[in-house]
Symmetry: C2
Subunit: 349 residues, 2 copies
């Protein structure tokens, strides 16, 4: 798509690095009170007063984390911001600023980078975060994006991975497995396209799961909801690598075990139907498919009345003593040891 | 060097992403009071109380910003941190934390990445900053490093690029041009090595300029000095792209002009002798050679008595009205318009 010969093509070298940063950031508005000085100096200046500051950073590498043959650049820019905001929300914090650095090879014209930044801008606007810094440079191959997200949280309101206690409820927001299945559909369509470029795919049956993959959202709304319900989770993590892997992180950091109930896993009907079509086990997908960017948390039993009727939150298990281990309790009431098959970029090659 | 067959070689995939982060960060100590929670959760948690926060980020890309054939990985790790701290100091702030993300191809064994992190750790220790986050992932080619540095500054003590006023003095720390010349020497030795791999280069005459290139320092000491002298510069920037380019940034942001005096440029004797050897004009090198990471600032005339005897600071010119333009006043008392020939990574190839 980005190599379409009919599109306008402005070489990046025409602008140079300073021109490029100025050009790309000129349409971004500053919204946060904490942003004192944004792009244009050696560093941004921020002021958080009596709030604590959270900082997180993530790399997205072409050919490892994304494939531009089905990932539009605008969506990619959006997603690059979202995956970082998700880490901020997982601390029970409010996201306030991001910095975005890109390394691009000469095969990308200015117009492609503008598309990428259009997606970044959409995410910033929707999530009310300011773009306050970044770096643009050339790369010898492909596109690499590095985002750092900053947020604020009242002192002692932050939630770590380490606070889960035996008998706490294990709770997940939204539904899971969709993003991974969306990727499977896109990979299949890519193969079909290679064989028959004139084929027009009908993706009607997969709109939800494809959106979960291409345009994920971070659960800012869930952080707000928890605040409104007056619930402070005892521990929290976002689901980027797969439910199973994230549960094991919480258990390890909190020194606890858990029982996860297979029949409680929240699955969208499209996840179930697509699993059947692909002959995949939906529980395996829910446990190991990543990139859903839902929040996994543990909540004290006494908060159960506050969350039980909420359609955004599902109780999927409970925390046990550490020596009990972490298990999946199947529909047949069998206990299976949970293992992490989360994604490891170093395994690819 | 890193592909020496005799070295121990542990594949990164043996550790996986989580194992790698834990392994690499386990020897880093937390020193800053503002670091509440470091690596190991979704985000770091920091607390700056009534201080303002500065944030800056930079990419270093193999084949664009560094060449591993003469840049040892330990030095590279050190430099990656330094170039970011330099931006923090250029705000008149104190550097407190960094996050470091790396994307590496499979050609790097664990031992190579440990070398890189040894350099990062040395820089963190020496500059008293905490490593509080990062990401490790695979890349399809080469090594890419993204560092974000965070600092703190008392409210209204931060110094921007935009505060220079006519009649202010233009001041630079240390000496300039060395880092660029060091690179020229290293590039020449690389070519010699290609022709005759048994040649043992004698680099005795270039120790200072090679160190400027391979192991630059950020001027934390100058920020401390300014504080001790009770001098708040009216504007400041660090010299990463070349003196000329940085002066033009200050002039543009401050809406002023300047006269820069050729005979005031601070040059190390090794810079002068190496320029002669390479048949280069030392003024051109001082103006356009980058990566010295010295601080360029403007200081009010009334502060002149405080700085004039200081060996770390050289007055190289003064600020004029904007419509006077930015000029170099040569030894022959000619005025030449200053132009930026600073480095642009998109021009390469």
């Amino acid at each position: 798509m980005i190599e379409d010969k009919n599109q306008q093509r402005t070489e990046l070298s025409q602008l140079g690095e300073f021109g490029l940063i100025d050009h790309l950031s000129k349409n971004f508005e500053v919204k946060q009170q904490s942003t004192i000085k944004t792009i244009g100096d050696d560093a941004a200046v921020l002021e958080f007063k009596d709030k604590r500051v959270v900082v997180t950073t993530d790399f997205l590498v072409e050919g490892v984390h994304f494939d531009l043959s089905y990932m539009p650049l605008k969506h990619l820019g959006y997603k690059a911001v979202i995956v970082n905001l998700s880490d901020v929300y997982a601390m029970n914090a409010e996201a306030t600023q991001v910095t975005v650095s890109i390394a691009v090879s000469n095969r990308f014209p200015l117009e492609a980078i503008e598309e990428l930044y259009a997606g970044i801008q959409t995410a910033c606007k929707l999530y009310n975060v300011d773009l306050v810094g970044g770096d643009t440079t050339s790369s010898t191959s492909g596109l690499i994006i590095s985002v750092t997200a900053i947020g604020q949280v009242d002192k002692d309101k932050e939630v770590y991975r380490s606070g889960a206690k035996p008998n706490d409820l294990l709770v997940v927001s939204g539904d899971i497995g969709g993003a991974y299945l969306g990727l499977q559909v896109l990979e299949r369509e890519k193969e079909v396209f290679k064989v028959n470029p004139n084929n027009q795919p009908d993706l009607e049956a997969y709109t939800y799961i494809i959106e979960r993959q291409l345009k994920p959202e971070a659960r800012k709304d869930v952080i707000k909801l928890l605040q409104d319900l007056d619930v402070k989770p005892t521990s929290m993590i976002d689901i980027s690598d797969g439910l199973s892997s994230e549960i094991l992180h919480l258990c390890k950091h909190s020194k606890v075990g858990c029982d996860l109930y297979e029949n409680k896993l929240p699955l969208d009907p499209q996840v179930i139907s697509t699993c059947e079509e692909f002959n995949l086990d939906s529980t395996t997908i829910a446990l190991n498919g990543g990139e859903d960017y839902e929040l996994l948390m543990t909540v004290s039993q006494e908060d159960f009345p506050k969350i039980k009727a909420n359609p955004n939150l599902t109780v999927i298990g409970y925390i046990t003593e550490e020596n009990a281990g972490a298990h999946l309790v199947t529909r047949a009431d069998q206990k299976i040891k949970l293992t992490a098959q989360g994604w490891n970029s170093f395994d690819k090659d």
